[in-house]
């Protein structure tokens, strides 16, 4: 007779029966549970996806960046932008008379075009002031676009002024210098206004401990130096480049004075094509230097020898 042994095995209880041994699929339940099946809000991270226009401009324009109260550096930058903005607005008004603007093309009325032009310039300044005050990239972008729109000219013309109390129009050199100064101010406005945003971000990041800055004085000092040096150099170089059509006859004069005389009197060379030709010549030389990798060699030399 077999002895019945005690066993912990309880499989005999289940033999022949179907036993559900796992919980039902969570996904299946989520699909049929009715209310509350939506994805919880906290599960979705906030991502700033740049829109088409923003992506053209290099990334998302973050409208609600919470900047902390500006520090002295940012406040100084803001004051500088205000000054440049005022000068830029005034110069834009001077160098972009109503004639030749897109408004003149659309309306055919010089009076109306002038009024629209003034409105655009005022709007550009207003947006710029507000954007810098609020440190909001959207308004600054709008302001920059309006300035560019204001300066766009859709007519063949030499430089003409809408307001000329000093008689600058009589001197071609002064006239082109005025336009160069205008262009430098435009670039400085774009750069400084983006500088306000960059340094505000940096300042906020420093104060929220996201970033640590070593030797902030040196970093800021370098920026301040660049603010002075770069526009001056750009001004000088641009004047030289734009004077290429005048410099070329001087150089040619060394070899052939007759040809130099012809060049000086050439209508083509003194026209916009002359300016373009001179510019092209200069940039071909610069391009050649780049192609020869000269800048890299200069950089190498600076790296190895020190400043």
């Amino acid at each position: 007779m077999a002895v019945k042994r005690e066993s912990g095995d309880t499989s005999h209880l289940y033999d022949g029966k179907t036993v559900r041994s796992s919980a039902p699929s969570r996904k299946a339940l989520a699909g049929s549970a009715g209310i509350g099946t939506e994805i919880p809000k906290d599960a979705i991270p906030e991502i700033e996806v740049p829109k088409f226009i923003e992506s053209l401009l290099g990334g998302p324009i973050i409208p609600k960046m919470k900047f902390l109260k500006p520090d002295k550096m940012v406040q100084n930058l803001q004051l500088a932008v205000y000054g440049i903005l005022a000068a830029l607005g005034f110069l834009t008004f001077i160098v972009s008379p109503g004639a030749g603007t897109i408004w003149f093309m659309l309306t055919g009325s010089i009076g109306l075009a002038s009024i629209i032009q003034i409105v655009v310039i005022v709007a550009a300044c207003g947006l710029g002031f507000y954007g810098v005050f609020k440190r909001d990239g959207r308004f600054l972008l709008g302001s920059q676009l309006l300035f560019i729109l204001a300066i766009m000219r859709f007519a063949s013309s030499k430089v003409s002024l809408s307001f000329d109390p000093f008689g600058l129009a009589d001197n071609n050199f002064l006239l082109s210098t005025l336009v160069v100064i205008y262009a430098v101010l435009l670039i400085m406005y774009i750069e400084l206004s983006s500088g306000v945003l960059r340094y505000s971000m940096l300042d906020t990041s420093i104060r929220t401990n996201e970033v640590y800055v070593m030797n902030p004085g040196k970093i800021v000092g370098k920026y301040h130096r660049a603010l002075i040096i770069n526009p001056v150099i750009a001004l000088i170089l641009a004047t030289l480049v734009l004077s290429a059509n005048k410099i070329v006859p001087v150089i040619v004069n060394i070899f052939n004075s007759d040809l130099a005389g012809q060049l000086r009197e050439s209508v083509e060379l003194t026209s916009v094509y002359g300016v373009a030709l001179g510019t092209l010549f200069v940039f071909l030389v610069v391009g050649g230097l780049f192609a020869l990798n000269l800048p890299t060699h200069i950089q190498n030399w600076r790296e190895s020898s020190g400043e």
Binding site: T10, R20, A23, R153, A155, Y212, N230, F290
Partner: protein, 430 residues
Amino acid sequence: MLGSLAIAMYLLGLTLRNSQLVTIAVVIFVFLTWAALFGGHADVSASGRRSEEWTGEEGVALGSVSAMRKMSSARIFEDGELNVTLRMQNHSGLAKILEVRDRVPEVMRIKEGSNYILMELGPRRETFIEYTVECPLRGFYSLGPVAVRIQDPFGLFHKEKELHVYNDFLVFPKMEDLKETFVKSRVPKIFTGAVNIRQPGPGSEFYSLREYFEGDSFRAINWSAYARSGKLMVNERERDAVSDVIIIVDSRAVSETGPVSRNALVYSTRAAASLAKYFLGRRDSVGVITYGDEVVSVDRDTGKKQLYVILTKLAGAVAKGNTPLQVVVNRIMPHINKGSPIIFLSNLEDDPTIVNALRDFRARDFDVTVLSPSSLEFEFDAKRLNRTGYEVLKTERDVLISELRGLGVNIMDWEPDMLLSTALAGARGF
């Protein structure tokens, strides 16, 4: 943007023969060229290649910047802190304004200092960046690469380089100190040890009383019992011995259901680490098996070294795959001593073979303890599961647990806020 604007103005000016537009365009070109030439980005502008394409020594401005990193430890426990020192060197004779970001794994938190620095690094100088990271989750991690960026003052051009300096480190699951696990083997090994097994023999814990036989030591006589019964009675003690303990950790993809820091796998690995430490401290032989997309096992062994081997395996356990428990049981069954305690850590989800697999263990008289961290609680707490769904799933889970309990498995529905020792006691019916 400025470049595009300049080109557009230049072309429009030429087309319309408008010298004003051409002049403005030329000024912008000059400004950009100057910035490119003398802003430390000549190498980028020279070839027209994008900065990301630079490798090795090609990047002149950043080629002379190097980084080294030192860590306070290569192995830490969860919630531990790691001190990192990053040494940045500028080998060139030119001062540079650098943005340095040492990449830290996303789950880590910077506790002190900063891994993102903006600095002016002087010519042929070096600087040390120190920061402390808090490591809340177990795993294999790497610090690095070090991203370095240099840009001109106006931010017109920038160049980035990743310095491929990596430091690997391990975060072990944190452990709970256990006083008692209530897990005892019925099958001793030949060596005596500190663990009581359920057999009488040489030991320290009381087991039972029995009548005196010739040869018994007089010291074992229980005089109180003798006074009560009139017969000579001796104390029997539980035999202290070394036993094998097998810990099975479920690391299938489903085990990570719930928030990153609160899910079944996190709890299971912490429990496995604590149990391994406890048993190894008692000179038991401990083996660990983790299964997910494959079955990974640490052979049974004793000692402190074994603890680190187990901790390393647990640190690397990744929620992946869906291997059924039955496969694991079939594979390990021939290799483990009959009657050894088996501790199974799983949320018991999405595996129809669990009941059969545990029944196989019980059929061979293994002492099975199941601790089941409830994914339902994690998900419900994180508001990812509504009340109705929670109730339905909870009922299903309770049915399954009752079923397993019916097989003679010591099982505990481990709720998130319950201590491991409490859960173990609960599994044993205390």
